[in-house]
């Protein structure tokens, strides 16, 4: 097992120089993206990440403009969640830069990043069992004046108002997803990191989540969306980064994704 690991490691090391030149072109592509001219809200530059000795991200560069939805598409284990955790400052074994509004976040703590305007919705929704629905909403501080008021939250998610005194984890999966998104909107996050919001949910709820994403996009919030459901990704996003083995292998506009959907589905193994 460890032999195989080290073999793969050395393979990766050997490839690194050649990889770099290929990623450079991808990065250049990214800079010529459809958002050209709009200053980036989030810009991740040459980010690499490790778990111990194992490298899980290699020189990844990603940008998200205000009011833009960019997706990270790729197989399980491609490094999508690690990228979100690195942006949030939760994954610490990283190299490269993450900037918000042009200022480097450096080694700032997750709580400082959250207060700077990054809202994370983890793949398990991250709802607290020992907090009521309302407490789950009230826990994070309000960090920006674009924050949703409780009235607005309850107006958009009436089910949360009905269940405000329930323990957070007594909600259904879809309701927990709504709660997790509502929580960062009430905070006033300007950049949302959404980790597979559609996973395991009924189509009607996925559709509702799509509507919400389009609405917050219209308000100028930037969204970096991890998604395996290509159809859903295409319905809400502007651009797509295709991740494979920790690298951005393709950067596609929505139309390009549509044109190559069947090919990509094969590639993604979905």
């Amino acid at each position: 097992m460890s032999e195989r690991m080290s073999e793969r490691m050395s393979e990766r090391m050997g490839e690194r120089t050649t990889e770099r030149s290929s990623t450079t072109t991808t990065t250049a592509d990214a800079n010529r993206g459809p958002d050209d001219g709009v200053p980036a809200l989030l810009s991740v530059t040459d980010l690499s990440a490790w778990y111990g000795e194992a490298r899980v991200l290699t020189d990844v560069s990603v940008t998200v403009a205000p009011g833009e939805v960019a997706t990270l598409v790729g197989r399980n284990g491609a490094g999508k969640t690690t990228l979100l955790r690195s942006v949030m400052g939760l994954h610490k074994q990283v190299k490269g830069t993450v900037s918000l509004d042009g200022s480097d976040l450096g080694r700032r703590s997750p709580d400082a990043r959250a207060r700077a305007g990054i809202g994370w919705v983890p793949d398990d929704r991250g709802i607290y069992a020992s907090l009521s629905v309302e407490e789950n909403l009230m826990l994070p501080p309000v960090v920006h004046d674009s924050a949703w008021s409780m009235e607005k939250v309850y107006d958009h998610f009436p089910v949360l108002a009905q269940r405000r005194d329930f323990p957070g984890t007594k909600l259904s999966g879809g309701e927990q997803q709504m709660l997790a998104m509502a929580r960062v909107l009430r905070m006033g996050s300007r950049l949302l990191l959404l980790d597979e919001p559609s996973e395991g949910l009924a189509p009607v709820i996925v559709q509702r989540i799509g509507e919400i994403i389009r609405e917050i996009k219209a308000q100028g919030v930037g969204v970096l969306l991890v998604e395996q459901n290509v159809a859903f990704a295409r319905s809400v996003a502007d651009r797509h980064y295709l991740l494979a083995q920790g690298k951005v292998v393709e950067h596609l506009s929505n139309d390009a994704l549509a044109a190559r959907e069947s090919e990509l589905l094969t590639h993604l193994g979905m």
């Binding site: 949030m88 400052g89 939760l90 703590s109 997750p110 709580d111 990043r113 959250a114 207060r115 994370w120 983890p122 991250g126 607290y128 069992a129 020992s130 907090l131 407490e135 009230m138 826990l139 994070p140 501080p141 960090v143 929580r183 960062v184 905070m187």
Partner: protein, 289 residues
């Protein structure tokens, strides 16, 4: 029957000491992930400081009830700032060993200064003697200790459920990393929570002082039972710590009264039974596979 009621009262009084201390152990474990082995020693220090305040400064029980928790809070803050914080990033075993070592130091230091025979402490004036309810004679101090612990546990419960600090502590207990990612500076609460937990142990020590032999070793058996309490209640559960504290106090009192030969093991039989039926304790959350 009247004996049974007396044992119940004794059990609830002892349970109050366990409940208060276990509450401290639970919040410290929840927020810092530290299993504080020195909790028994802090309980002992609470009682010893109360005895010393009385002997050397003539400050009585009521003063000790206020002053000792304040001193122990300061002690906890120092302990966390000087020692515990440096090991937080490492395996939890390191802080377990640190606090175990600290326990040995505290116990030996108290022995060195005050010897091994118990320090004297009396039931404060006004709380001595017995009161007759119906045909049953009850110790006034035991009633006081029960009521005081229950009120204090309720107050901590209100603090945890009704205030923003309590909400943050509950959230951080569930998942510190995620709570930071929601913009909460969890680190800011670590030191006060540790001090608070230690203060509760010290307070339990003061409450126990009039009814126990105050010796350097009084915390050694106490901490073992305290671990049984948190396992029964569910590690990290605040409500569990309180309920299991009173439960263990009762079981212990009945054991001593009706099965003295087995008194030492009843609690651990109870613990084993709870683990068999509910591995994560009475109020612990089931681990998600």
């Amino acid at each position: 029957m009247s004996e049974f009621i007396q044992y119940t009262l004794q059990g609830l009084a002892a349970g109050g000491f366990y409940a208060l201390s276990a509450l401290g152990l639970a919040v410290i474990f929840g927020v810092l992930g530290v299993v504080n082995f020195s909790h028994g020693a802090c309980y002992m220090l609470g009682a010893v400081i109360a005895a010393v305040l009385l002997a050397e400064l003539s400050l009585g029980f009521w003063v000790a009830l206020v002053v000792v928790p304040v001193i122990m809070f300061g002690f906890g803050v120092l302990m966390e700032r000087l020692l515990v914080q440096w090991l937080l990033a490492l395996d939890p075993l390191y802080n377990f060993l640190l606090t175990f070592g600290l326990t040995l130091i505290l116990v030996e230091a108290v022995k060195l200064r005050y010897g091994v025979s118990g320090l004297p402490y009396e039931i404060p004036a006004g709380l001595g003697g017995q009161v007759t309810v119906g045909s049953v004679n009850l110790s006034v101090y035991a009633i006081f200790a029960c009521v005081f612990s229950v009120v204090l546990c309720l107050a901590v419960g209100l603090l945890m459920t009704r205030t923003r600090i309590g909400m943050i502590v509950r959230a951080a207990t569930e998942d510190p990393g995620r709570t930071r990612a929601l913009g909460i500076n969890v680190g800011r609460w670590v030191t006060p929570v540790f001090g608070f937990g230690i203060a509760l142990a010290g307070l339990a020590g003061v409450l126990a002082a009039p009814t126990r032999a105050i010796t350097a070793e009084m915390g050694s058996n106490f901490i073992i039972i305290l671990f049984a309490v948190v396992v029964i209640g569910g590690l990290g559960s605040i409500l569990g710590a309180v309920v299991a504290g009173f439960l263990v106090g009762l079981v212990e009192a009945y054991g001593v009264a009706y099965a003295p030969a087995y008194a030492q093991i009843v609690i651990f039989v109870l613990m084993a039974a709870v683990i068999l039926v509910r591995p994560s304790g009475l109020f612990g959350r089931e681990e998600v596979a």
